[in-house]
Amino acid sequence: MAGRTLVVWCPDWAVTAAGFPASEPVAVFHANRVVTCSEAARAQGVRSGQRRREAQGRCPELTVVAQDPGRDARAFEPVVAAAETFTPWAEVIRPGVVAFATRGPARYFGGDEALATQVIATVDRAFAAGCRAGVAEGRFAAELAARATGATARTRVVPAGEGAAFLAPFPVQTLDQPELVDLLIRLGIRTLGGLAALPADAVLARFGTPGALAHRRARGLDERPLLARTPPPELAVTAELDPPVEQVETAAFTAKSLADELHRRLSGLGLACTRLGIEAETEHGEHLVRLWRHDGALTAAAIADRVRWQLEGWWSTGAPTAGLTLLRLVPDEVKPDQGSQLGLWGGSAAADERAARAMARIQGLLGPAAVATGVVGGGRDPAGQARLVPWGDPRQPALPDGARAGSPPSLPMRRTAGPAAGEAPPWPGRTPPPSPAVVHRGPAEVVDRFGQPVTVTARGELSAPPAWVNTAGSPVEVVAWTGPWPLEERWWDPAGRRRRARFQVCLADGRAQMLALESRRWWVEATYD
């Protein structure tokens, strides 16, 4: 059931805000169309939506004013202030319309009728504009009630429980949902009463959420309960440090109690924190923020440790130039706490926990991206197959891999049957194991035994066998080589397209390298160190 609501409506507000009385023929235009016009102009046939020429044709002495929403809002401020003398919860619906719940004020002033009269009188004193007031269940009905008043009876109170009956005769156009209204009229539903008579579930099924909202309004209910949402509880904890703290130890002591407090709040709600924001402010107004991620749930001790490491990290880099005045812990990501179980004999879980703490500590010193673990996924070259994942982030490879799960290695040029639906791609053209132990990229020069650069034609034919490779200043003789293995990737993607011919070479000094010829230039792609 919607609460009883009072709406103060100022007719033709844009005209009033522009500083003209209703007795002068004035129209407010936007994009050459009438938006609002005064009572006098309306009497001469000016209607909203008309072109300027047409409006001036009907009313030659019409004053033309450009629309200015800012002006409307500014001018409306005294009206809102007057309404706020009755309740602190006055809501501006739009310039010209202000609403508030009557539950408290109506009892104080002796009923809705008396309240509405009082409001009109107060608003008139603040701003003589001939405003009207309506009281009904819900904002929509209250606004229609205010609009249904006349110049003589400036208030209209719809008695409790009669909202739907009051609304029933109004045309559906009052819903202010042009598309829906158009459809309703074509279906023969011309009044709000007709709409309200339809079953709610059928309206929702046929017209979706906008239709359901309109249906609620037509029945005299407030539209808001549809979007019921419990605001998330405030979980962040803050400590103001006075006097400002200059030492890690002191700040860490405060952090400990903050961490306990945060952990108590979270566990009270059955939540565990997986990402924690640590914020600090200094006397000089610096604002430091760092997010911490953790796979499992952060315990109170773990939170305190991280805050401490983070503070040490900040201080060691000299980021805070003055003492800390504020420390805040914000649980950035929470999830239901499912708990974790240590192994019965300590075992690997304890070692894992120790290692995890060390990694988090180093992240505090160097930044979250400085500590990483590798994940091997799909791809065709050694650099593309592996991906470094910052510590604490989910370990997911850059590309899916189907070939790595025990199937025989594929070689370039070998044709493999297409993958079955839903299977990860097999990456034909992948170099077979062993993989290179060092993956780097640098320019190289490759020449044949006459000193001419080695090239590969578009058809993958080699100009001459490579004889010398120069990667670090001095040429080294090639003792064995293989290739070219042409590789054309992502030809459909102009940005990611790569066309290469790859080689493996064994050099006279015992090294083995993977070389690639791309756009007529030679590169070292990896070394089999």
């Binding site: 060691s316 192994g343 019965l344 004999w345 300590g346 075992g347 690997s348 070692a351 894992d352 120790r354 290692a355 060390a358 990694m359 500590r361 180093i362 010193l365 160097l366 400085a370 500590v371 990483a372 673990t373 590798g374 994940v375 091997v376 050694p382 197959q385 592996a386 470094l388 510590w391 370990r395 025989p408 290695p409 070689l411 040029m413 070998r414 170099t431 077979p432 194991p433 062993p434 993989s435 290179p436 132990a437 060092v438 993956v439 780097h440 003792v479 064995a480 080589w481 293989t482 290739g483 493996q504 070479v505 064994c506 000094d509 015992g510 090294r511 083995a512 990896a526 089999y528 160190d529």
Partner: protein
């Protein structure tokens, strides 16, 4: 969680002598180490012209598979071939990389020595003697194995592994593909490791793992594609 009984007994035993606490190394490498594994708290240098990275990763592999954590510090870890590491048997979930520790590297090293079982360092600027001594003491105290790649360490370490000979197999003149490398590794050191030990092994072997030489067969230094009869090796498609 099911633990082998002797493992459980090992954990329940009240005192273990430091010298008895070993980190396992892959089988083919075991004969290089006096006790058949890396003694906890010791330092190992791996330094040679080629094969340094593979050998260092191979040293970590067995311990990593047994549940130990390892960490790599220094710029060498930025260029590390993670696919090769995985093929050698390193468990990547427990192998963390700190490629750019910058000026904080002693603090990073100290933190890692406290927490993980093996720390690999390489590609840093020459280490100051005072830092080196402090970190070595910390490693000894915590029972962490420190593996130094290259020549950045100023002091002598307990052991030094060098690849003295390396021959690749599988590539011909325009045919085949790199299949395996036979290396000779020489270990020198002090104390129990002072006797020079040498072994020949495939590093990496055909599937990227480290293998004893007998396991793969073939003469050292064959630069020919694999025997077509033994496997449907793709190299034969290229060769033929």
């Amino acid at each position: 969680m099911s633990l082998p009984l002797e493992d459980l007994a090992g954990r329940a035993r009240p005192v273990t002598l430091a010298g008895r606490r070993m980190l396992p190394v892959p089988e083919p490498l075991a004969e290089l180490f006096p006790g058949g594994g890396m003694r906890r708290g010791s330092m190992v240098t791996v330094d040679s012209i080629s094969g340094t990275t593979s050998l260092a990763l191979a040293l970590v592999a067995a311990a990593s598979q047994a549940g130990s954590w390892a960490a790599a510090v220094g710029s060498w870890s930025a260029e590390l071939g993670l696919v090769a590491a995985a093929e050698l048997g390193v468990c990547l979930e427990r192998f963390t990389l700190v490629p750019d520790a910058g000026s904080h590297w002693p603090a990073v090293m100290a933190t890692l020595l406290d927490a993980v079982d093996v720390v690999l360092i390489g590609g840093t600027a020459p280490v100051r003697a005072v830092d080196a001594r402090r970190l070595a003491a910390r490693a000894r105290e915590r029972g962490t194995v420190l593996i130094v790649l290259g020549s950045c360490w100023p002091e002598r370490t307990d052991m030094r592994l060098t690849v003295t000979a390396a021959r690749w197999r599988g590539v011909g003149q325009g045919c085949g593909h790199l299949q395996a490398r036979q290396v000779e590794v020489v270990a020198t050191g002090r104390g129990a490791a002072s006797r020079r030990r040498a072994t020949r092994l495939w590093l990496p072997g055909e599937h990227g793992r480290v293998e004893a030489v007998e396991a793969v067969g073939g003469e050292p230094g064959d630069v020919v594609p694999a025997d077509p009869a033994t496997s449907a090796d793709p190299a034969t498609i290229l060769a033929g």
